[in-house]
Amino acid sequence: GESVGLHLPTLSVQEGDNSIINCAYSNSASDYFIWYKQESGKGPQFIIDIRSNMDKRQGQRVTVLLNKTVKHLSLQIAATQPGDSAVYFCAGIGYNAGNMLTFGGGTRLMVKP
């Protein structure tokens, strides 16, 4: 089955700097990749997604990059703010793989004021 993982368990950045969170996946069956933000005591919150046939997608202050050649996904957060402090997960979903989300282990982002 598909597995989705992360390189760095904890990332500490200065407020105002850009953050980059990475994720590696081992199976190419996903039709979408999704980044979620999870704050303490809350469920995962959708940030941005990208179709598997795209290599870049931009949102408000966030950009997701997908490199299918090396099976790598990244989330870039511009001008990181204290409110961005949370655990970030990437997840894949495949229409022919049961339509369930397969999550990685998460990266904790800590923003220093």
Binding site: K42, P44, G98, L101, T102
Partner: protein, 114 residues
């Protein structure tokens, strides 16, 4: 517009007991999925319900069962609780008709088995 509602928020049970967790999906959503999230890990898929039937199941034992009601709400039941069942249980709703099966998560039920 209410999002996904889960109850209770916290629960403490004794090993061997049974537990029922509840979920009300977001308005307009017809599919409910349940996930187990152990501390410090990503959520793991348990099962998914659509049209009151279990459509997909992850690698969880039969002690984990569920139900979906005609109003799309859902229950997760766990029998013969083990210490290892302690986790945050997340409910996510979506719609089959959605463009990318966009999921909305509830805040979860924190289950502690002692």
């Amino acid at each position: 517009d209410a999002g996904v509602t889960q109850s209770p928020t916290h629960l403490i049970k004794t090993r061997g007991q049974q537990v029922t967790l509840r979920c009300s999906p977001k308005s307009g959503h017809d599919t409910v999925s349940w996930y187990q999230q152990a501390l410090g890990q990503g959520p793991q898929f348990i099962f998914q319900y659509y049209e009151e039937e279990e459509r997909q199941r992850g690698n969880f034992p039969d002690r984990f069962s569920g139900h979906q009601f005609p109003n799309y709400s859902s229950e997760l039941n766990v029998n013969a609780l083990l210490l290892g069942d302690s986790a945050l249980y997340l409910c996510a709703s979506s719609t089959i008709r959605g463009a990318n099966y966009g999921y909305t998560f509830g805040s979860g039920t924190r289950l502690t088995v002692v």
